[in-house]
Amino acid sequence: MFGYVRPRRDLLAKDAFAAYHAAYCGLCHALGKHYGFRARFLVNYDMTFLALLRASARESCPVKHCWCPARVFGRKACSIDGQNDAVTAACTVILCYEKLRDNVRDESVLRALPYRLLCWLFRRAYRKASRRLPDFAALCVRQLSALHELEQQASPSIDATADAFARIVSACVGDLQDPALRRPMEQILYHTGRFLYLADALDDLQEDCRKDAYNPLRYRFSPSSGALSAADLDYLTQLTDSSVNLAGAALELLPLASNRQLLENMIFLGFPAVFSAVKSGKFQARELFWKKEIRKRTIQE
């Protein structure tokens, strides 16, 4: 996935950061448990947000110390949340597989070879996940083909293209029965999906202009030499801020029993921080950017 949904770690309390870490490791553990060792490589920050959101209705998740393939000695704390973990892991596999397929479709034959290989490696995991969530898998295929069609038509609407993707993300909680939980979560995830799409479009704008590839921002704002004007960037920031507001208003309606600090941090602080990093071009060196944050935090501690 993209990795744009992250907390501001420097403003997170130590126990909240530990909970975030446990959710990330818990998702990795669930992927390994349900879809084999290979699927562990699909763990990502965006789906950790989904795991945290789904777990927020429970007062606390049991934490188990599990073996970690990235660590030779010692074990890592993983939060275990039965049914929620299984659904989040299935969504992760389906979304990552669809993204790989999308890359195969977008790239030239030679450049698409690595993605084809990865698709082949994850085909069994995908089949199993789509058997578990058949409606979600079908919706992904439907929405991505709608998105592909919009790209073919060179649609200038950032709303229509972002909507096609955001609907997929909001469907990750479609299995929840209680509307008091499902509806606010759907709104949060819809605007998260919208944010992901717009941040990715802005991040790729220069490259897409160079390659003459489709990017909704190219047709909506007509940038000169791959860069948006200051006024257009301001406008785009206001659009993402409105998404943050709507996601935040939905979060207030959730009966949060846990993870409140983390979710608020990710929505109100993480989204704007990531978007301003993307705007300034720093997010391309994303690992560097976030590692700097962690180092700063470690020094403070």
Partner: protein, 208 residues
Amino acid sequence: MKDPYEVLGVSRTASDSEIKTAYRELVKKYHPDNYANNPLADLASEKMKEVNEAYDAITRTRGSQSGSYQNGSYQSSGYQSGGYQSGSYSYGGGNGGASYAQVRAYINANQLDAAESILNTAPNRDGEWYYLKGTIAYRRGWLDEARQHYQTACAMVPSNFEYQNALRTVQGGYTPYRQTNYQRSDMDEACNLCNALLCLNCLCGGCR
């Protein structure tokens, strides 16, 4: 019914003023202004009702015990569960009595496709048409389109406060309650500036 103390998030031993503070915080949080045109306005209204009932229940119990507490819960009169009051708008197209009031009713019921199909058959496009079109887009989460329609509506009828409020909301001018807690960085900077000025004052001999 849920435990009223649990709804307000206070302990049973909390003082009257603590309960009142918790109640006011929750009223601010679920205030209809925070959910104007929001598809979740009905959930916010339910929460507000729950909070009011809990506060009334507590004040009633405590009032009967001490006989001194006045019941003063938030009066939600005039609050139409985040929806519109069907006005007398009508575009007078003469096609079967379809009107903007009907579109508003569909929007309130979250039937956005039905609302849009009526709008699309309207013979002329005035400020109200653009406002309603923007509201449908806003409810769908199509914020770019919503903003453009609201801007057109405001340009056509500059004196309409409803259109102006809608535009302000979509421009991010109105932030939800919680976010105000996350805008501390500016405040911190302001405090830092005050501290710096105080220190400077001390250093310059202002404290003699």
